[in-house]
């Protein structure tokens, strides 16, 4: 693999860009791999990358039904933060956030990580108490956050209306090292690095069955033939239930649609990410100038990657009250992704009832920010067969044991 650098850009500029090579190979599947990862989204690719980088396992295939990063990796609002309440969440999200800081150098691929700061508005007394509690918890966890007053909010976000009639801004939980990154680049960067290590990234290859012998996985059947494996990682987000069904077990997961939308591009007006969980909306400005807007998930099971129109209306209505200047913005695009929600709104990184099948799912509405940390923990689980410190609390059996990692109460709504 030729490295990307300023010299490479200069060299190619002088020869009509004729020397760029393909970022990753598209090989035919081999007969057998040590590890197969189902799902070439951010989490699947990160899992493969850290399997190679941290454990030297490179006889790996990452198989994908659609195209690279075509699921939720390319459908999120690109927010990265780690201000969670519970210790296991803070640990894995902070690991992810810290890996994002050096990801461009690590992958030699510009993922445009922008630590611009994320602010979660407190708009009720309850939220003030909740976020102050989170700030104290974060201080103990070593995650740098602070609770700031409304004047500081206004200073950081001049376009905000802090004295709205329904929900005035009473303060905010502020994490200044949080931010955004270019979501597609994360998938592309990992795919390029995986391909460079000799792994096979196989797109347009749908898994139709998981073959087992004596309670142990032996391979998968795909639309491009049978592929054998020693270990299987299932990292398929919204379709987790469908793949788990092939492996013969059920999960505490329901898949619902989560939507986002972007406005027409406007001049720079907001250089931080603002989340307003009480009124259910969050917004940031992309490098192109579009306002990137997200809201709450739909309430019913859905696999269509389309959401309900009235949720868009609710989100936009809430944000217009918080940011009156966006009231005449035209919306450019709207889309939906299928998110896998667990009962406690925390992910599952776990062994399964089938030997050598490992599952990484349940990231719900907050998967993008976790990609490197999730991949790191999942790679350790697959390589060693047992979860490491980052993953051990996220077992799929925590529900039966009552050991929830309850972020649904802790984080309010949006993740």
């Amino acid at each position: 693999m030729k490295r990307y650098s300023v010299f490479a850009v200069a060299r190619e500029a002088l020869r009509y860009h004729s020397g760029w090579e393909r970022a990753w190979a598209s090989p035919e599947p081999k007969k057998k791999y040590d590890v197969i990862i189902i799902g070439a989204g951010g989490h699947g690719l990160a899992t493969a990358y850290y399997l190679g980088k941290n454990f030297g396992i490179t006889n790996v295939a990452i198989i994908e039904k659609g195209w690279l990063g075509g699921g939720n990796t390319g459908r999120n609002t690109t927010i990265i933060r780690s201000n969670y309440l519970q210790d296991p969440s803070a640990a894995i999200y902070e690991k992810a956030r810290s890996l994002y800081e050096t990801m461009s150098q690590d992958l030699n691929y510009n993922v445009m990580y922008s630590p611009r700061g994320v602010m979660m508005l407190a708009q009720t007394q309850h939220e003030i108490r909740g976020y102050q509690r989170t700030a104290h918890a974060n201080a103990l966890q070593g995650v740098k956050t602070e609770f700031i007053g409304p004047e500081r909010v206004k200073e950081l976000v001049p376009i905000i209306n802090i004295s709205g009639p329904r929900y005035p801004v009473l303060g905010a939980l502020w994490q200044d090292r949080a931010g955004t990154a270019r979501h597609d680049a994360v998938a592309w960067g990992y795919a390029r690095a995986c391909s460079d290590m000799g792994m096979d990234v196989i797109q347009k290859c749908e898994v139709t069955a998981i073959r087992r012998e004596g309670g142990k996985v032996v391979g998968v059947t795909t639309t491009r033939g049978d592929i054998d494996c020693n270990k299987l990682g299932v990292v398929v987000a919204g379709h987790t239930g469908v793949v788990a069904d092939m492996a013969g077990f059920r999960l505490p997961i329901e898949s619902v649609a989560l939507q986002a939308l972007v406005s027409e591009p406007i001049k720079p007006c907001m250089d931080v990410v603002v989340m307003a969980n009480t009124v259910h909306g969050y917004m940031s400005q992309s490098d192109k100038g579009e306002m990137v807007i997200g809201g709450g998930a739909d309430g019913y099971n859905n696999y269509t990657q389309r959401g309900s129109f009235h949720h868009i209306e609710e989100t936009v209505r809430a944000l217009v009250e918080t940011f009156p200047m966006i009231s005449r913005l035209k919306m450019l695009r709207q889309w939906g992704g299928i998110v896998d929600m667990t009962g406690d709104r925390s992910p599952i990184i776990s062994k399964t009832p089938v030997e050598n099948v490992f599952i990484n799912c349940g990231w719900g509405t907050g998967g993008f920010k976790a990609i490197p940390g999730s991949g790191w923990a999942m790679a350790e689980l697959i390589a060693k067969g047992e979860p490491g410190p980052l993953a051990e609390e996220f077992s799929m059996w925590r529900f039966r044991e009552g050991k929830f990692i309850d972020e649904s109460v802790a984080a309010g709504v949006a993740h």
């Binding site: 239930g241 469908v242 129109f309």
Partner: protein
């Protein structure tokens, strides 16, 4: 927009009038049940990509809970029926079979 007919008041209600209540026909387990049964009842869900039975409440109408059969992959609604039943009525099953031959849901099909 999703529209469901409330089987009690007969109103064709759109989803802003309704509140989703997740999976239907869960078998309840209480004290004395095994850990497996209780975990299954409380947390495990079918979550199919296809025919799904679910609970809805006509929250801004008559306020009653009812059940619906719907396809989660196409958003097609096969019908709604009373919540006072442990399995879908025959006409709902037939409506599903007409469009999704070979469907199944736990113990009934």
């Amino acid at each position: 927009m999703l529209t469901l007919k409330c089987p009690y008041c007969g109103v064709h209600a759109d989803e802003t009038e309704l509140h989703p209540g997740s999976e239907a026909h869960l078998k309840r387990y209480g004290p004395g049940s095994s850990d497996d049964e209780f975990e299954g009842y409380l947390f495990m869900r079918e979550n199919p990509k296809g025919v799904h039975f679910e609970r809805w409440r006509h929250v801004y109408g008559c306020g009653k809970w009812f059940l619906a059969a719907r396809d989660t992959n196409t958003l097609e609604v096969f019908g709604t029926y009373s919540a006072q039943t442990t399995e879908p009525p025959q006409e709902i099953k037939e409506a599903i079979t007409a469009k999704r031959p070979g469907w199944s849901w736990r113990e009934f099909q």
